[in-house]
Amino acid sequence: MSDVSAAIEVEQLVREFRKGPRAVDGIDLAVSPGEIYGFLGPNGAGKSTTVLMLTTLLPPTSGRAAVGGFDIVRQGSQVRSTIGAALQEAALDPILTGREHLLLQGTLQGIGKAERRTRAEALLDRVGLTEAADRRVGGYSGGMKRRLDLALALVHAPRILFLDEPTTGLDPQSRAALWEEVARLAHDEGMTVFLTTQYLEEADVLADRVGIIDHGKIVAEGTPAQLKAEIGSPTVEVAPVDPDAGERLAELLAGFGTPARNGRGSVTVPLPGAEAQLAEIVRALDKADLRVASLQLHQPSLDDVFLAKTGRKLEGTAEEEVEDPAPAAPRGRGRRGR
């Protein structure tokens, strides 16, 4: 392994199934301690298979990986004591209460009786389930189940947390709340988070770095800003009030970049200088007395990155129905500078 200080290190990891293609096809990645790593890809890309291997629940066909400094094949029990995991679908017992889940998990993790009661209370409080603690989980909403799932993964205070599509199917409010909690775990408490998602905005808002996986291979990796910068500059689209003014508008915007004509006189031009050039464009339009119906700045998205790297769009490839793929960002929490 190359980076001994990494929380998660993966080298040429492969998983083949008997009657299928390579679910994971020789991936390499490294996640630093305290980092949120977003593993982005459509359904069937290999995200969950990777998580199952890294959490020791599925042996790899070949390759190597270490989690928390422990080899996932030879030191499985040490890996498991280092990690917490909330796997796809909240795996809960509908007959038990939230508190009973936490106490059972605490017992099996070897936490003493008094301590596990204290931790259960603290975690219930933390995920906002104190009032529902003694209700059976079968009556919980999807968001409550996910929050309990997260609390269960945290019972033994792991250093590394694996979250496999933690917000799939959640309403926007529940999703935002979960994002906030995950960001707090990493940024305030130094927990390393490996998060798989099929939501672009989730990776964009939450992850310090993103790996894009498709057909079992990592096709791009970097910070969201780096990945977007790789595929080009932002563009501005200007639509004149008078559709016949399109020609004049294109001539004017040619001073900023190569203009592209759209319908109804609208013109798009790339802005290498991003927002700084926007003011200049507005001044130029004003000076030329060109009345504008709309002016929109388009930032490249991770979807554009996915499109550039794989030739197709990520959004819309998901098979599962979701309530809203684009909830609000975590409240009052910016991305950590890196």
Binding site: A91, G128, H156, M191
Partner: protein, 274 residues
């Protein structure tokens, strides 16, 4: 989410992995809690065998007129059957519960803890044991209430309960084995008709020596279920029959040993961890 002040001590010491008994206790506590909270799990396995007992007890009483029939009360003769039928229900409920854990991913959650496969299997069977105990006591009390006298006395009643619970535990292990082997509730429920036929092809309705159809008598003779039933029945209608009890306890123990060993091996395979 909740309070801002609650902080985890990331990477904190969580203590030693719990001992085997503590692990078994934790899983068993969950299993028993589940069993007691699912009333349908308790009611139907109680009702169905008792309904059959009531029907058989009244409609087949003429069988006692057959020369050589070992008792004058068909109800006393038939009381052994609910214990075996109850054991079949225990097998199905144990297997279905375990299969549900596998299907929902709860099994994976447990696999991520230091839980040992043995603890998971034995603990899981804890709920089945409680269910079996409740069933057996109810069957016995209903039998007594309907006028069945236990010829072996109070001591015999306790031995009867011990044998019946042992049998139910063995069937529960079979249910667990099916769940671990196939991983779906449907597969587990699929064994119920097979088990029911196996019970039917035994000495459940008549003593083996009074079965006139040769092939049926041969099948019943080779069917271990006959000896489980006869072990229980001997305490009710005969008293202390050493041979019947030895065969009953012997087959029950052998059945339990085989199903438990196979279920243990299946658990290790199912609980794949590196």
């Amino acid at each position: 989410m909740g309070a801002e002040t609650t902080r985890l001590v990331v990477g904190a010491e969580t203590g030693q992995a719990p001992g085997l008994l503590e692990q078994i206790g934790a899983v068993a506590h969950r299993s028993i809690t589940r069993t007691l909270r699912q009333r349908a799990l308790l009611v139907f396995p109680l009702l169905f065998p008792l309904i059959l007992f009531a029907i058989n007890g009244s409609s087949l009483s003429a069988a006692t007129k057959i020369p050589g029939f070992p008792t004058s009360s068909y109800r006393a003769f038939a009381l052994a059957l609910p214990f075996i039928q109850g054991a079949l229900f225990v097998a199905v409920s144990t297997g279905t519960d375990l299969a549900r854990d596998i299907e929902t991913g709860f099994f994976n959650r447990l696999a991520l803890t230091p839980l040992r496969p043995t603890a998971l299997l034995v603990g899981q069977l804890g709920g089945s044991l409680v269910l079996a105990c409740i069933q057996c006591v109810v069957y016995l009390l209903v039998g007594l209430a309907t006028g069945v006298a236990i010829v072996s006395g109070v001591g015999g009643a306790f031995v009867l309960l011990a044998l019946a619970v042992l049998i139910a535990f063995a069937f529960a292990s079979l249910g667990a084995l099916m769940a671990l082997r196939f991983g779906t509730g449907e597969a587990v429920q699929g064994i119920f008709p097979l088990l029911f036929v196996t019970v039917f092809l035994s000495s459940s309705s008549l003593p083996r020596n009074l079965i006139k159809v040769t092939w049926f008598r041969d099948v019943a003779t080779y069917n271990p279920v006959s000896y489980l039933i006869e072990g229980i029945r001997s305490l009710i209608i005969k008293g202390w029959d050493g041979q019947a009890l030895a065969l009953g306890f012997g087959f029950a123990t052998l059945f339990l040993a085989i199903t438990l060993a196979l279920a243990g091996a299946a658990m290790k395979t199912r609980l794949v961890r590196t």
